[in-house]
Symmetry: C2
Subunit: 222 residues, 2 copies
């Protein structure tokens, strides 16, 4: 059978094309969104990544999630907060009380609520390992198409790419984005690691049965 990374790419390619070719993705990727609207997008994204990253932290030891759980390398919420504060020209600690943010919370768009609700439900569900699919779509997307968007956004909103202020979201510091292959390979480990955990558990099950046998009192009759 094929590695999960290949299967994931192939089986989501229609959805990728549909998303990439949507009107909104076009506006974003061509740097056409009004700055106010781009910042609103960053704020919605902050809530989405905050929800996802809390969920991954909560389930970091799940054998399916553990191999790709690398917050130092991947987490985006704090980078998003930094970009938002930059655009709103306010301290990072106070952006959440800025009118742009409070008015977003007062009328949350449907597609925003839906995303958060879905991630939270997965985190609370019997099978949080499905969060792996979101690790894949979010972080690999940011590492791929995200790098193209970074240059367009910088050009559109007059950002100095050298300083990096305002486009930290697209900046995976310790990670050479050309080494995306390394990250992708980690996804394949997820399944192997799941199998390893299962085998360990099967051996534990035998051991438990053996210990149960050890509770037998020896037969009185010869």
């Amino acid at each position: 059978s094929q590695p999960i990374s290949i299967i994931l790419r192939e089986e989501t390619s229609d959805a990728h094309v549909a998303t990439e070719h949507s009107q909104g993705a076009g506006w974003l990727a061509r740097g056409e969104l009004d700055l106010e609207e781009y910042v609103r997008f960053l704020m919605m994204f902050w809530h989405i990544y905050d929800t996802l990253e809390r969920a991954l932290e909560r389930h970091g030891s799940n054998p399916v999630l553990e191999p790709t759980y690398n917050p130092t390398l991947l987490s985006r919420a704090s980078n998003l907060a930094s970009d938002i504060a930059f655009f709103l020209q306010c301290p990072e600690a106070t952006w959440q009380s800025h009118p742009a943010h409070t008015s977003l919370l007062l009328s949350r768009p449907q597609g925003f609520v839906e995303y958060i609700t879905h991630l939270q439900a997965l985190s609370d569900s019997a099978d949080p390992s499905l969060l792996l699919a979101h690790t894949y779509v979010r972080y690999l997307g940011d590492l791929s198409g995200g790098q193209v968007i970074r240059r367009r956004v910088a050009k559109a909103y007059g950002i100095d790419l050298a300083s990096g202020e305002g486009v930290k979201f697209y900046d995976f510091k310790s990670l050479d984005v050309n080494k995306r292959g390394d990250i992708i390979r980690v996804f394949d480990i997820s399944i192997t690691s799941f199998q390893a955990a299962m085998l360990k558990e099967a051996n534990k099950a035998f051991e438990l049965k053996l210990n149960l046998f050890c509770t037998f009192k020896p037969p009185k009759s010869p």
Copy 2:
């Protein structure tokens, strides 16, 4: 990569041999246990299966557990209760208050407590999908070695195999035990089903992102 059923068998074969060749397994499999001790074993087993089967019921929709979740075919707790009542010569509804049972509960052997505690912890854990390993070791064991033990037990304790009273534990009614291969194949579906759930979730993740893009207000500037 190999099917999980083959991997499970190969990777637990040492543990299988160790358990099968233990002194207690020998006493059991040769029908040498005192009847009192055999009934104590059935009572401990009832608690173990009861814990396992409640856990499987609770997590029946987990994508890893779903393919092998078949209580009608597999559940053992009620068959065990019937065998226990038969040997204790009491109604099935009251065996739990029989002195043989109350004294077991008053001094629970270490290997018994450990088994139950472990299953309950798995059920309450972030990854109940590992219960699959216990489905494997318990039910496939009962369908395999269990069928040999059934005949020895019947002979040792003077049971009429035609009536089946007292050996219902080994009796998988609707299942031809020679069709064990069919059951084993279901284990392979578990991993495939897990992948399918993951792919569905990855496509959902793209859809959520698409819907988020739909919340964008059109650019004012042309």
